[in-house]
Symmetry: C2
Subunit: 470 residues, 2 copies
């Protein structure tokens, strides 16, 4: 509950038009893209600039009001669900690309900029921002930074973390700090830039970012390798890399995913094979052609039943788009879709795919698996129905076992989605008590009153969730 | 002072042969590569394994004994000088390369491994670890990680931070934690891996690391571009990159540095020009040849008086070796050599070089400038003599003004050397009071008794230095 005094103070900061607490508005921001999580915020606030954010955080600190910074809410870990109430902070007034610097190869922008909009703006200047989360058409850069988003080009180019070189941050006490800059190198003290990347809104609010850009690759080519044996597909992944070729993209889709994606996208994907690899290479033409030819040979040597090079940019784009639509396509199957991102060392992909299949059978649940195989980052996805409590229980048991298996194989509970509230119960599997204690010490030192996105990463629920169906 | 009880306990942990407190041994570890800093430790300890480190840290925490982890002491920020006494920790028993994993492209090793030894071991398998600090022949990986070391290949490939994907760390309370793994992606909580990279031994002790490797580039070529105008050389740097070519290496040396390096290396470097750029590109042959040709054209268009492609691997290696020897060569000029690493956005290199020259003139000190121009990371270097207090005072004023200028140009006080004790007084220029407070909060949360390398990054001297000449 927000007191009348706090409400008036916040309205005084941002103006009446930027503070909403009608039931309708609150309902809109009571959930994000994560199934099974919903909780009403007390209000929704839209700061106009950094100073507003600072003033808001001072008030929230003083009065212990939770603040949940939110981009487009596309995360899949309940990272922006206001599970302990409080105020959802939106960035609709902070959506400017401030500068594209062609000499230093940087873009400086506000957190509310849509990822794809920035990518298109820099590509118009022949520059390239590689991280391309599947949600990039609607996700914001602020959200990408807070979640350290991955994407389809991570194998060769890395993730969001590898491109953020400077931040303006408002700390919970209202202090405004700047980290890094247009600098290739900076070792002036601890790496606060990377500490905030992936911190899921639990340490402060990012109000500006400077991103590193690279020259646009000259060309790219796409191939689709088909397999009647999942293990052969998985083996191809490590064979390609062990042969010292790092493709831009190395995606895996199993048969159940293929069937659903083809039904959604209708681009002629094969549905009669057990698995496909979607592989892309970019760079100078000669190198791309040579690599693609070698990749095709390696896939054949690992028993691909067919290897097809996309014959046009349109065809390649259709394949990529189909892959990006996997979640949307799977979401059509059942009322609820639970998508995970257990991640293992690349060499363990075959074992992990097999384990997922065994676990699905054991708990009698349907799990479709696709993902960034080159990164060892799989997305086992379960179409289910939260109203069927008995099935949901089995689904949750299956995913718990999947997380355990990925840890056993030297992996992690999340490769790119974040912990949020959804995976908080599993964090100890990866970090141990000591690792969690170290992270909690950081949280405590930045946010002693636990106002920043409380309940995420560590804490257990204190407020009962409103369970809804999608 | 270490009490007899603590001494006996520590000897009990590591064995008498691994605990040294003779005056001779203490003297050896009373300084590092940084001029003007010396302070006697109370003892020197050599743990045999992680468990020893944990036991030592528990004792030191309990009894508030400072611990200074030290690799080869090649840092240039007084980062391993035991300025508040206590115990210097060596890693001579932790020098194993534990595994080179050719499927996941990783190397796992102990902190005491010499950088070059690891690089040669992975290159023997066709793999590549890009960070190549000039000290790599003697520096250790543990030291590289604690300082987030750069090198000559940073422009294209990044720095140590970009290659460390997993750590085993002993916290000051003795807890052993593991971060990351053989994983391309991991977002399970805060990025402790990167928090520890560059933390200068102030948060805990790194006892094992997993590093990412990449395929060895197929070939490389080297060119030397000569200029009679420093600004033209600096302008060439941004022109090359604005033309969307990212060379592996883009080094700058001014005339005073050239003269000294040639006198040292005797490889026929030109000494009658105002500046040179040493530029390398690596990758597939066609791409390298094309890039090198384009770079040569761009340098000429920016008024290089000569552009020469190294005609053999031996010649290229001689040029690189000469560049790496710059500090050693400059150190022959005067009893004391102060080498700094002010860093600016690449576009500001010309202004920064000019400013350094103006400042040197203003304070009547000799400053030779060289460095990683592509990274905006310059090494203004002053040959001086600490016994000449009047000159040293002018040198310190000059460097203070250089740091201020680099901040004014959007830069930082250190690009790759770290803060240590040497640059602690300047940290606020970059971070502001609020940024320092945020970092101190982290330090306090990990190390409440301030046992880990106290006096570094933040604090002021509490113990008087013993000033010595080199």
């Amino acid at each position: 509950m927000i007191s009348e005094h706090v409400r008036a103070t916040l309205i005084n900061i941002v103006g009446l038009e930027n503070y909403e607490d009608s039931p309708a508005e609150r309902l809109v921001y009571s959930y994000d893209a994560t199934p099974q999580f919903q909780s009403m915020p007390d209000a929704v606030i839209s700061p106009r600039h950094t100073k507003d954010v600072s003033d808001i955080l001072k008030i929230c600190s003083e009065h212990r009001v939770p603040i949940v910074p939110r981009g487009s809410g596309t995360n899949l870990c309940a990272g922006t669900c206001p599970t302990q109430g409080g105020i959802v902070m939106l960035f609709k007034h902070m959506q400017q690309i401030l500068e594209i610097d062609e000499e230093n190869l940087t873009v400086t922008l506000q957190p509310g900029v849509i990822t794809l909009e920035m990518i298109e703006a820099v590509e118009a200047k022949g520059l390239f921002y590689p991280p391309d989360p599947s949600s990039m058409k609607i996700s914001t850069i602020g959200g990408n930074i807070n979640e350290n988003s991955g994407g389809l080009r991570g194998l060769k180019y890395g993730v969001t973390r590898d491109y953020v070189i400077g931040l303006e941050i408002v700390l919970p006490n209202g202090d405004i700090i700047r980290t890094g800059g247009k600098l290739a190198k900076d070792v002036a003290g601890y790496d606060l830039t990377r500490l905030f990347i992936g911190s899921e809104g639990t340490l402060g609010v990012i109000t500006e970012a400077t991103l590193k850009l690279i020259p646009m690759p000259e060309t790219k080519k796409t191939i689709l390798a088909l397999y009647q044996d999942i293990e052969a597909a998985a083996k191809s992944v490590s064979t390609i890399i062990a042969n010292k070729i790092i493709p831009t993209t190395l995606e895996f889709l199993d048969q159940p995913t293929l069937v659903v994606v083809e039904d959604f996208a209708r681009i002629g994907l094969p549905t009669n094979v057990k698995a496909v690899l979607l592989i892309e290479q970019d760079g100078p033409l000669q190198v791309v052609e040579r690599d693609i030819q070698k990749i095709a040979e390696l896939c054949k040597s690992e028993h691909a039943v067919s290897v097809e090079v996309a014959q046009s940019d349109e065809h390649a784009e259709a394949l990529r788009t189909a892959r990006r639509s996997a979640l949307s396509a799977l979401a059509r199957l059942k009322p609820t879709t639970i998508l995970e991102d257990a991640t293992v060392p690349r060499s363990e992909i075959a074992k992990m795919v097999q384990a997922i299949s065994d676990i699905a059978e054991k708990y009698d649940v349907k799990i479709c698996t696709f993902g960034h195989a080159g990164d060892g980052n799989l997305h086992p996805t379960c179409p289910t129905d939260v109203r069927d409590q008995e099935e949901i229980h089995r689904v949750e048991q299956a995913f718990a076992e999947i997380f355990e298996k990925s840890i056993e194989l030297g992996g992690t509970i999340t490769g790119e989605h974040g912990v949020g509230e959804m995976k908080a119960p599993y964090l100890e599997l990866k970090l141990g008590k000591e690792g969690i204690a170290a992270m909690q010490a950081i949280k405590q030192s930045f946010d002693p009153y636990n106002i920043m996105n409380p309940g995420k990463i560590f804490a257990k629920n204190e407020r009962k969730r409103v369970v809804v169906t999608s």
